[in-house]
């Protein structure tokens, strides 16, 4: 589904650029400007707090002044980068660009104090928490663009000058540092770019280098478990997946080859599959009847699940009402060819379903009937606020001339049946004393959660795990 982009292009461009650079971090947590509060008095800011001016006396180092960015650099960035363009070197060009902890005195240039790091324009030296500089790179002056990159994967920092990588300046750098710039002589002016505009240095190229490096490390990682164990684990995962989702025939063949045993008898799997097929095809009413028939006490014991099914039933009714051209709706095709041979052949099932009658998709109902059904639903009692909300949304579909184009049109999408189908399947399994989730899903959730926890606890490497791409999901914290 292609989403229309309603944001204005300009903002969209810079936001896209930033979210592309740091896909695992919320934009609000990123440094985006210099802080108007967190600065020494000789620093003046302009141009939406991106330009820094020095307006002190600049007699000696006691007149040095720095400013921190609004936010520290989140470790979940993996690799963080910003650039500073020297607009004017002022009288002496005593400018320092770097990083500082929240507690560092701003009456100093970055690098002089403990927990601060800087690269200075007048001598090209690097300063690592010390007043004594180390020979590092070339000097810089008016017109130069200096970049500072924090690699949170290997805890190093390097600088760039006019797009050229100057190599590692510091290692063992701690986390939670703020981008910082310091000036010391009158007339010095510098502009920062925190990613809103394109960088001079090819930071994407550098990120790609690390992404490639880390993903290669993951793919070539040798598991401490021996190969034959991995093999049997993988077989169990595949088998579990087949059984869980009711792919009986495949599971039977697989078990013959692998000598894995069924924990559930085959008719039971087939029954679950029948229920699932009904839900996935939108025949909710029939699904409910079948569940009542096969598992008499299940829905009585779980009224919320029943209620969810009924809401879905309600939505499916609206669905059948609102699809103008039956051909455009795959489930409507079935309704036209109700019970025909072709419909049977289309079904991707392992066994011939018993009794085509129960496979019948919802037939078109009149608006009155649908409304009646809705009202009955609304009259039912539920404690769950979320369910009440769902019902409300379902009702609001009726308010639109073309519900598919409405803001809640997604409710009509067949993919919305998947979760319900999974919930129902899990409930059935649970009632039989079997696990709710197949091992594959457990493993995926485990991996996602682990990467999420790693990002939260400041392991920068997790930003380039590649898991999101692999699973086609988003790992961004909500």
């Amino acid at each position: 589904f292609i989403q229309s982009n309603l944001r204005t292009p300009l903002i969209a461009m810079s936001e896209d650029r930033i979210s592309k650079l740091y896909p695992h971090v919320n934009e609000a947590q990123l440094p985006r400007a210099w802080s108007s509060k967190d600065r020494w008095q000789f620093i003046k800011l302009s141009r939406t707090n991106l330009r820094v001016h020095y307006n002190g006396q600049g007699k000696n180092h006691k007149d040095a002044a720095s400013v921190r960015a609004t936010q520290p650099i989140p470790a979940a960035c993996g690799i963080y980068y910003f650039e500073v363009k020297i607009i004017s070197k002022g009288r002496d060009g005593y400018m320092g660009i770097g990083l500082a902890d929240a507690n560092v005195n701003m009456n100093r240039l970055p690098g002089w104090e403990k927990d601060s790091y800087g690269y200075h324009g007048d001598d090209g030296n690097s300063f690592c928490s010390s007043g004594n500089g180390k020979k590092y790179g070339p000097t810089f002056t008016t017109g130069d663009v200096i970049g500072c990159c924090v690699n949170l994967i290997d805890s190093t920092v390097f600088y760039t000058k006019n797009g050229v990588n100057l190599g590692v300046a510091f290692d063992n750098v701690p986390q939670n540092l703020y981008p910082t710039v310091g000036l010391q002589s009158p007339g010095e002016i510098a502009d920062a770019n925190f990613g809103d505009r394109p960088f001079v240095f090819d930071i994407e190229g550098y990120m790609l280098e690390w992404k490639t490096k880390l993903q290669r490390q993951i793919t070539t990682h040798v598991s401490p478990v021996c190969d034959s164990d991995i093999d049997s684990v993988l077989k169990k995962i595949v088998f579990g997946y087949m059984v869980h989702h009711g792919y009986c025939g495949a599971a039977e063949s697989f078990s013959k080859v692998t000598n894995l045993f069924f924990l559930e008898d085959i008719p039971s799997i087939q029954s679950r599959q029948r229920v699932q097929n009904l839900v996935m095809r939108g025949c909710i009413g029939e699904a409910i009847s079948l569940v009542h028939e096969l598992y008499p006490s299940l829905l009585t014991a779980q009224p919320d699940l029943l209620f969810k099914l009924q809401i879905r039933n309600f939505i499916e009714m609206i669905n059948s009402l609102s699809s103008p051209d039956p051909a455009s709706h795959p489930y409507s095709i079935a309704s036209l060819m109700n019970g025909s041979e072709e419909a049977e052949q289309r079904m991707d099932v392992d066994h011939k379903p018993e009794g085509l009658e129960s496979e019948r998709p919802p037939s078109r109902q009149s608006l009155e009937q649908i409304l009646l059904f809705g009202r009955e639903l609304a009259a039912q009692h539920t404690q769950d606020e979320a369910l009440k909300q769902q019902l409300k949304e379902a009702f609001s579909l009726l308010a639109y001339r073309d519900p598919r184009q409405s803001p809640i049109g997604y409710l009509l999408d067949p993919s919305q049946r998947e979760q319900l189908c999974a919930d129902l399947n899990s409930a059935i399994l649970e009632s039989h004393g079997l696990p709710r989730q197949p091992p594959l899903e457990l493993a995926i959730s485990q991996a996602k959660n682990t990467v999420g926890r790693m990002l939260e606890s400041g392991l920068g490497a997790a930003a380039y795990s590649g898991l999101d791409k692999f699973l086609k999901c988003s790992l961004k914290p909500q």
Partner: protein
Amino acid sequence: YFIQSNLSDEMPVKCESDLNAVRLLKEQDPAQLYGAVRHIKNRVIGSKARKQEYLDVGILPELISVIKLKCSPMSVEAAYICNSLAHGGRHYVEHLISSGLVETLVEGVFLDDQKLVEACLRTIRTVYQYPDLEACQNLWETDNFIPRLIELMTSSEVAGQCCAMIIGSVCKTREQQAILSTTPILANIHTLLQTDSAQANLAGLYCLSELTYDNHFVAQEVKVKEALVKRVFELMRRDRYILVQYNAAKCLTNLFRLGVIEGETCKTQILDTIVYLCLYEDIAIKHIGANLLHELIEQNSELQLWASYSQHLMRGLSRFFVASKDPDFSPRLRAAAFKAFAALGETQEDIRKNIIEGENIISHLKFGLQDDNLEVQVAALSCLHSLSRSVKQLRTTLLDAEVWQPLLKLIKTDDNELVRTSSRTLCNLLLDFSPSKDILLEQEGTVELLSKLVLNSDEEVKLNGVWALMNITYKANPELRSKILSHFGVLQILETVEDDCPKLKIKALGLLRNILCDADEVDRIMTSHGREVLKTLVPILSRDGPWSDEEREQVVCVFINIATGHIAKDLLSEREDLLTCLLHLLSHENSQLQIAATTCITHLVKSDDSGCLDRQNKLKEMGHFRELQLLLAARPEIADRAKIALQYFQ
């Protein structure tokens, strides 16, 4: 640069069925024949020992006849057996070529059978991994072969790869490059680059780099294909296979050297990739990276500066000198590092200072100059040459390190490249402000050695010899001067002045100028060789000659020196042709020549010795006086000199 898997050498097992299989190649029955080629193919792939075994039993002619049957699938299998044999190495390839395999394969390429065509192409490609082999030269001349390859490039990915590799390795001259670039080959290469297959990308990039190497015409053709250039940049990114990155960087380096790549971002991206290669963990990659760095930055001081501070590159390069685990590979690494340092220090004093002070290169250099490996020696010399362009280093580090010692040894060797680079470096060491100059001149035989260089058949060595002689004669004492003249006499100098090479001519004139440096010396030489000197030099001043202003200026400067002699002055004034030339030069459009001619006349009319009145009168008569008066209205630097000259006229 394809990474080859190590072939395991198994013990040769003579097997009756093998010999039988070879016998079966003569078989008429298709099924039996097919069985035999399959059997041989399966046994020969991956085993060097068996390759040799099969060659020994004379399998090649049989295989060639099977290919000549032009019948799939046995001809295909036979071609693959040949391909496997060719993978065995140079020795096998030589065998294959001499048995006439290539001709058969070339015929096969023209068939309609795609599988057989591909098998033939693959085998030709493998054979042409050694394009330096003598028998490899004639593919270009084979009728319609290259057009056929270009046509086949689009028939399949495999065919495309092989054709690109073959064309890349047979394309050797500028003409061939130009002819190829007018065919659809660039579009076909683009197709290979578009795929996600690293092998196809490599083949395409290899072909492109061969096509674009040092060829302005092709570079312009490539430049207009913006999508192609953009794709090459994409292939240089870090998620690509390392050799794809390298080959893309190589293509872009070629284009950059030809002035086709512009823009800071593009330049920094190429540089960044090459620096990345230089610092890569694999030594083979480091090696090709450093060589490519040399190509990229030589003669470009901007990139030299950027490279000098990029990613602590110089520290990384100096680690190349630490012996690697592979003793055979170490010398190549050292040579590559020296070459890279030579390029880095080519133009800028600050970079030279950093190389010497930061990386302690001098101790490596001293070892490098005495290395067993010729390539290392040459590279070390070019690095030393680069560093010797610094006045400061000449007076300090290079003096202390006594680099002249190994240099004198190397210059006496037989290797032309060594003599060339060492004599080039020696010139700098013999400059007046270099303290090594005196030390060198104290050594027995130095002057003789330099004179011998001039007799060398190599243009550059000859030039360096004259250059060095010119340097040592500068402000030389009479003793040294006569020593020099005894080894390299005036007639020899004049002969060198008449050389066709303009650079050599200039240096020879400089040498002559330095020899003719005081009045007594001038008179002595002009008495003995005056006639020859004038005979050689005067024609150069004539208006219609093919000489450049620079050469004329040098000649006038020689005459300025000659005009300081007493007898010599008269000799010059007698030559009316010379005086006419000087008169013309006074009104020349080149102010340097005007100034030189004015100075020369000043010396001639100076009133401090006898005969000056006669000379003045003569020059008045010929119109020099009037011409000088006209010059008073010229630019100050000319007018001032004209004024001085005029003051001498009484």
